[in-house]
Symmetry: C3
Subunit: 356 residues, 3 copies
């Protein structure tokens, strides 16, 4: 039996596989008509256990542009889930209806759990605050198309760097390319976690930390904006004092280079002023559109076995140990085998990556 | 760059364009198979911010019958809207995914607002109580197919003529054709507004007002039924006394001509008795079906640039003025440029058409 | 005008028609590609007035695999239904948009009511606790594929046999095949109703009643598991004492024959332990997949007029009589003609089959 390819975590693939996806996406951008029947007769199921129209429509558009069909739900109260069905049963059944399955679920590790028993390839479209690999592929395609390269870039990332899933994933991926330099822009409380800083350093890249957009913007090739939620500030006074420091407007844009580009994973709320939209360097809407092309490339690579991932569970299964992360999928789906990998002295859960 | 065509208001087009759409729809009725791949490879997005299965399915069916694909939402709580995204950002992104965008939104002027920044043609599928142009095109195709003409018709319209969006739009459109005569059937409190009566007269048509269906039905070519909501009557006593006067039943139908047709925009509640459905002159279900054909024609005309509208915003943008209509989209989307046109002594908002 | 075929109740068709559907489904299983454009250009509408993702996705997948398109709703609060539209009007309009209509509605007899005025074939995808014929066709295809026959089988059915719609329908259907023997496994309170036992006997089959899975499992060709809801037990004490007797686990499976198969209509909750999923005799996920193939066959048979049903209403319409079942569709849709058939001394409602 053929080994199914899943995209749960970009780290399950080699860099050459990422490059293959991005490169195919570039080909599709050049000549989309050549791919318009590539997945004719295939069906994609989108199982969205929490709302994300943007991501769901992006995947649906990708499949339609390849000539495929669509099933799925975006409202779990309408599904068998409402009758108490577990993730495994839903996945088993739907993955036999469809040729490829896209899942978003608020529990961390849920996409991996689904992949364990799925009858078709599974794509992680966001498992809680944990991973969102197709956003990172989108960001990589945007850089490749707009800057011509993924290495030797001066990259600013701004927002809540403690909790920002898209930022973590982007920094980890771009650290694998040579000579990238990162400028981390956040409040003191919302600085990037040490373990990601360590990854950046280990992979041979540099970073610096600053506490306002203005301190960073002059020398950047790309500024990646994300939101800081009001609740994340230390206090209401702190929020009032600092909020504008992390909002991008025309005044701050006037200090940036003429070839700097601004990206954002969207949806945006207030962190980029509306006036910036008219600036030709504001590429976040174009970036959303690249998201369709990179997902087209990903679907082709998975259905045609053009990329090859590591096994879903690599570590052993220590008797009697359970993950301590309350958001881990192993708590709501008790039939799942516990599995941990040894990382230095620590055990890490193979579903949600949290340390025991 | 190509100027995109949008359908926000029928008045943005010349009568020749309406006739072109209706005429193409007639061709499609005759030979639908000839159009079954006309939009192959194209995608329609339906963004429905309030429920309207009827209208949404009608557009979806039209696109499928042309060979196209579908994305969209019908439940804004499930979309990025729920995360606070504004109309502009949703429109920008989705109009890059799709080739044509259909929007229904409860705020008046919302479809025009969406069209201002959309990357593809936009069709207004209802912006609150303001406009619903594809219903009027449906009504026109029905008349053309069933009566053979759009002029020289005796037309009765019954229901809440103060607030009836579909009736206003139909009367304005049919006033552009010669020798049409309108019979306005409503309670005294729910009579047609003066400004629409003025339009009818200016365009050279006649109208009369009556206060029951029986006073009007004998001499009509077409009776257009709509609902009067209970709350619209002056009092509960008034409602009890008058309600049957505005309900169509077999007894009233017996007084109509044998070639009179009955239309209704649907959904109906009680204003047409179930018994009337079996009457061959009851054409409201057939009319709903014509709605698919006219939308097929409209999609083709817009995607193939066969019709040409006036610019979205024509007037100047007086400094410091804001629209006073609380339902106007400019109140919930503050980034929108205010824009008014001079009409006699008054300024009219170019989004919701209300007077300043 | 062509007489439309509807699938409301399997009993409206002759056994030869069931066999034709199952046989075509077997052909499709063998060579699905040969059918991939069979319904190209056709549209299926799925009107789901209550949640059932499983059934809805199964129909949608079937139509996509035949090359057709999809419209529909799964959330009545979003539809015109929310504006007070009756079932007749919704059906009339949507059945003119689509080529085939699939309906699920909690009222008993609703699918037949819809079929009475539909403009295209209607498939009953579940009308409350009354009928669910495509589940039974799925079960029959599974037996045919996995056991090679529909007769001469030893079949166990386990669960709530009083209320189990899928079990009733399966027993009635399989009683039409020779030499089938049924083992009815339930609590004393949840035994199969007498009228179904009578049908089994009349049709020449045998049954026995037992009160635990272990009493039955040794000699079965197929065990059909369904759920017993906690509330159905006589008391909480009774539930605690008995619940495990009706749960299938590996221990019980160890007593079954090596060629016994386990089926379940899904979704399952606790009645089959997760550990059983790995047993090669556990075929409920495969069964769900057969559901797609049998629905493909059904759609073809209906669109191509390959099967022929009895008229929807056969009996007379006794003046002044109304159905007494509060869940009957005739109560919520008052325009429906009452209709009863004479069965012995009793009158049975032709919508919900309950006795007057």
């Amino acid at each position: 039996m053929r080994q199914l390819e899943h995209l749960i975590d970009l780290d399950d693939y080699k860099k050459a596989d990422w490059d293959a996806i991005v490169s195919l996406a570039q080909d599709i951008v050049k000549d989309p008509a050549a791919y318009s029947q590539r997945c004719s007769g295939k069906i994609m199921a989108t199982l969205f256990y929490e709302p994300s129209t943007r991501t769901q429509m992006s995947f649906q558009t990708a499949m339609l542009r390849l000539g495929g069909g669509l099933i799925g739900f975006d409202n779990p109260s309408v599904s068998s889930v409402a009758k108490g069905e577990n993730l495994k049963d839903t996945t088993k059944v739907v993955s036999n209806y469809a040729d490829i399955l896209v899942i978003r679920n608020p529990m961390e590790g849920s996409a991996k759990a689904a992949a364990l028993t799925a009858g078709c390839p599974v794509i992680n479209a966001g498992d809680g605050g944990h991973l969102h690999p197709t956003q990172t592929l989108t960001d990589m395609l945007t850089l490749k198309m707009e800057k011509g390269r993924l290495d030797d870039l001066k990259i600013g990332v701004c927002g809540d760097l403690v909790n920002g899933r898209t930022v973590h994933s982007l920094l980890k991926a771009l650290s694998c390319y040579k000579k990238n330099e990162f400028t981390l822009i956040s409040t003191k409380e919302l600085r990037l976690p040490d373990y990601i800083k360590d990854i950046i350093t280990e992979r041979g890249c540099k970073y610096r930390e600053v506490f306002s957009i203005e301190d960073a913007i002059e020398d950047l090739d790309m500024l990646y904006m994300t939101r800081i939620q009001r609740e994340r500030f230390a206090s209401m006074e702190e929020y009032e004092r600092q909020k504008n420091v992390f909002v991008l407007d025309n005044a701050k844009m006037s200090k940036a280079r003429s070839d700097m580009i601004v990206l954002h994973p969207l949806p945006r709320v207030d962190e980029i002023a509306s006036e910036v939209d008219a600036d030709p360097r504001a590429l976040y809407f174009k970036q959303a559109n690249y998201g369709v092309f990179v997902r087209m490339a990903l679907i082709i690579c998975m259905l045609e076995d053009r990329i090859h991932s590591a096994p879903l569970l690599k570590g052993g299964i220590p008797e009697g140990k359970a993950c301590a992360n309350p958001k881990c999928i192993t708590h709501t789906e008790p039939y799942l085998p516990h599995s941990f990998r040894q990382t230095g002295a620590a055990l890490e859960c193979e579903y949600c990556d949290s340390k025991l």
